[in-house]
């Protein structure tokens, strides 16, 4: 085995400072990708331990080896199936009892050697905790390294301990936890039965299997049923043992076993983590902050202000940079086109390169500043511990409309741009809630739709422009709420995802951690979504240019012909002319393109466009057109990101399909309803 193939898994509870330890171990030598088949981030890095180089895999934060969400399942499966040689478990030193539950489970599993990283020792000390890591290490039989990872303290020591443990290449030490005599007897008896089942017993160590079966773990019980000839025998033995034990102890076995583990840990912690003074009497700083932040009256206003700041930062700071990038690409496009022309290149080539490729790449990159700043803000909210508070404060409201507390942030961000909105759903652990939030997100009227509203409302509703635009925003919100409920009852039936959420203590985020996180997440957007968006942009360019010899985006081009075909479909909505259809078609690229396209098609400059629009549209058809623009399809970049985030063409297709149908139905309703009311 080459040493570079040695894999160390980094596990630990959420908020234990696992990522900080990971960053300290690997430096900047990280690779961020996704776990196969899902959108959970997979972080991997190289660490140099003395002379050997090892791969460190940063697993999603988990509390135990029982998985509730995809991240947890990934971490669990990695630990159970890949069986890394060494698992470093990061512990929050101030909260040892619960943090030790995971390593205790890993010791019971007994497939990997462990090194415990007792992190944030400084915070434990300020809380008056004195931790005897040496004693704890002896009692558990695994090495423990105290660290303050964000200050780099203890990292060298951790590296040398990891190197030593790798070199040992011994089987992991036995788990020090023993259950009561009768439970131990039952475990032994069940193990005997399991050992007779070759296939089942090969999956995991038999003691682990026996414990999990006694605990009534559905996952293992399920495996037992799967074409196992001797499964019945084990099951029969299990039932007898469970009945016998449960009549003996007060609780059901599941509770009893978990209780025993916590009882053991409580004993350990009281022996090795002594309180020098009782800080429970005083409110911790974190609790004091929470008195304000989650206050009955201030909680929601504070949340809204923070959202507003995030929103402002994303679009006000990001906006000018985005404009700059847009300008640079525009400049580049023009000059390259001029260069090609001066070299007597064909006009179509100049157009392909400047409008198609450079314009296409630009249309993707232009989102980057907003996305990066958004992720920066989200990283600050996450690392400081606020994100969980936001979900805590908003959960009741969001739950009432069928979403989750954590859906609120993506929805609010959607008002700015649906792409960061959809990407922000990554903070949600429940897959159903996440997909639901993604599906309705495009209904939040993004800033790109605003130019269309301004044009049409300005041209035809001069005195009620504000009201008309506001009504469109509200329409989007109401539709999102209704559709969330409808989709939930159609596709995500059953119990709503429970909320069992830790509110981590507030911490000061580090610049390094925040920037690294924001960069890694926004780089994913560039890499993956960029390919889809880019391809689509180039495709549309071809459609707008071919066949050769016709003017760009005229009725004779493929896209013009498509518009002519599509126009009759839009007739019931009151705007059944090809220019509108083509404008909407181009609007798929980005909704604000509708304005520019109409300008091109009506051969007029933007400032005079309002007057032209007023000739072609009535107030009623204009409103129907705006409703259509709001709903009809997520823009191409959003579609790309929906595909990426749901990892499913089915859901992507559904998002496109339902919005097209809904947009058409609603704009037809607006037009026909309006006519009935005599507004035509």
């Amino acid at each position: 085995m080459r040493d570079s193939e040695v894999v160390i898994a980094l596990a630990g509870n959420p908020n234990s400072g696992k990522t900080t330890v990971f960053n300290a171990l690997t430096g900047a030598r990280q690779k961020v990708g996704n776990w196969p088949g899902v959108t959970v981030e997979r972080k991997e890095g190289k660490a140099k331990l003395g002379d050997t180089e090892v791969t460190v895999v940063d697993l999603p934060g988990i509390y135990s080896l029982t998985a509730n969400s995809i991240d947890e399942r990934i971490a669990r499966d990695f630990l159970l199936k890949e069986r890394p040689l060494l698992v470093a478990v990061v512990l929050d030193a101030s909260n040892l009892e619960r943090n030790l539950y995971l390593p205790l489970q890993l010791m019971e599993l007994g497939v990997s050697r462990l090194v415990l990283v007792c992190n944030m020792m400084d915070q434990a000390r300020t809380k008056g905790l004195e931790i005897d890591t040496g004693g704890l290490s002896q009692a558990l039989g695994v090495p423990i390294v105290p660290t303050v990872a964000n200050k780099g303290i203890g990292i060298e020591r951790l590296k040398s301990v990891l190197a030593m443990e790798i070199a040992r290449r011994e089987p992991p030490p036995p788990c020090p936890l023993k259950y009561s005599e009768s439970v131990e007897e039952a475990i032994n008896e069940l193990e005997e039965a399991i050992k007779r089942d070759k296939a089942f017993s090969q999956m995991y160590p038999t003691r682990w299997l026996a414990i999990k079966l006694l605990e009534g773990d559905q996952e293992y019980l399920g495996r037992l049923g799967e074409g196992n000839p001797s499964g019945g025998e084990i099951l029969a033995r299990l039932t007898t043992l469970r009945d016998k034990l449960e009549s003996e102890i007060r609780y059901d076995l599941e509770t009893a076993l978990v209780e025993r583990r916590y009882g053991y840990l409580k004993g350990l912690v009281s022996r090795f983590a002594k309180r020098k003074w009782d800080w429970a009497e005083r409110l911790s700083v974190s609790d004091k902050i929470d008195r304000v932040i989650t206050n009955r009256f201030l909680g929601i206003p504070i949340f809204l202000v923070l959202m507003w700041i995030t929103f402002k930062l994303t679009f006000n700071v990001g906006g000018p940079i985005a404009d700059l990038i847009d300008g640079v690409f525009g400049y580049l496009g023009e000059h390259v086109a001029a260069l090609i022309a001066s070299a007597h290149g064909p006009a179509w080539l100049a157009s392909l390169v400047s409008d198609g490729i450079i314009g296409g790449v630009g249309s993707v990159l232009v989102f980057f500043p907003n996305i990066f700043i958004l992720f920066l803000a989200i990283a600050v909210l996450e690392d400081s511990g606020y994100m969980a508070r936001g979900a805590f404060v908003m959960d009741r409201f969001m739950h009432a409309i069928g979403l989750h507390g954590k859906s609120f942030i993506p929805m609010v961000l959607g008002f700015g741009c649906n792409i960061p909105g959809i990407m922000a759903t990554r903070t949600m652990e429940n897959e159903k809630d996440r997909i639901l939030t993604i599906l309705v997100n495009p209904l939040m009227s993004c800033s790109a739709r605003l130019p269309v509203y301004i044009l049409f409302a300005g041209a035809l509703f001069a005195h009620h422009q504000g009201t008309i635009i506001f009504s469109l925003y509200m329409l989007g919100v109401v539709l999102a709420i209704i559709l969330a409920r409808v989709f939930k009852s159609l596709f995500f039936k059953g119990e709503p995802a429970p909320l069992v959420m830790e509110l981590p203590p507030y911490r000061l985020p580090t610049w390094k951690g925040v920037f690294l996180l924001a960069w890694q997440r926004s780089a994913i957007f560039i890499k993956k979504a960029g390919t889809i968006i880019f391809a689509a942009v180039v495709l549309v360019w071809f459609l707008a240019h071919l066949p050769t010899g016709v003017p760009y985006a005229s009725q004779q081009t493929f896209i013009g012909r498509l518009g002519t075909i599509l126009a009759p479909i839009m007739k019931p909505a009151g705007f059944g002319f090809w220019q509108a259809a083509v404008a909407l078609f181009f609007g798929v690229l980005a909704k604000e393109v509708v304005v520019g396209t109409l300008g091109t098609l009506y051969h007029t400059q933007e400032e005079k466009l309002g007057a032209v629009i007023a000739q072609h549209f009535t107030p009623l058809t204009a409103y129907a057109f705006m409703v259509m623009t709001l709903i009809y399809i997520p823009c191409i970049a959003s579609i790309g990101i929906i595909k990426r985030e749901t990892n499913s063409w089915k859901w992507t297709g559904f998002a496109v399909g339902y919005s097209l149908v809904l947009g058409w139905v609603l704009s037809v309703l607006v037009y026909q309803g309006g006519r009935l009311l005599g507004l035509g």
Binding site: Y101, T255, V393, P498, L503
Partner: protein
Amino acid sequence: METLSHSAEDYLEAILVLSLEKGKARVKEVADHLGVKKPSVVAAVKALVDKGLVHHEYYGYLELTPKGMAIAQAVYHRHQTLFRFLYRILGVEVQTAERDACNIEHYISPNTLERLVKFVEFVESFPNKERDPKWLSHFKKYAETGEPPPCVGGERGGEKVKTLDQLKVGEKAVVRAVKGDPSLKKRILVMGLVPGTELEVEKVAPLGDPVDFKLKGFHLSLRKEEAKLVEVEVE
């Protein structure tokens, strides 16, 4: 420890008690203490001297050898434990407790005795030495009046069984049980909400749900729907 006849153990214990109480033990005092005749004491003491357990000084004082002391102390400890068990825990009256302790100590097996010692230690380890633990006072009341313990009907003396969602902010409780479907139950359990865990309601979200609890030094939020699954005891 070599096996001695019951009466030999009694003599050793008597010598120990007398020397603890009066500083010295003589044949006459031993005879009075045990309620036997002096010649019987003399004969028994001779046997103990032969076994090297007691020194018999010329002028009548009896003194335990280190070996005799060890046996005497063990016997004495055994006796005291039994006495405390009968008197303090079962509530038997003093004289009966004393007499029965004398009788039981000779017949009880070392294993049972060891458990009994542990039990007495356990009961006596409660922080408030002045008062009996609650369950013990319930028991004594039951022994005297036949009144069943108040916990049978779901409510306990001063403690109420509630579900977690019924608690108010600032209220403290101890987890009794977690209900619900297996996966949700497991999820709640592994977060540390196991029976016996103390927790406090820290805050309620502005819209009335979810609720934040403090336990084992960290904060856990549950919707009332989930909190309903956790049964607790409130003081």
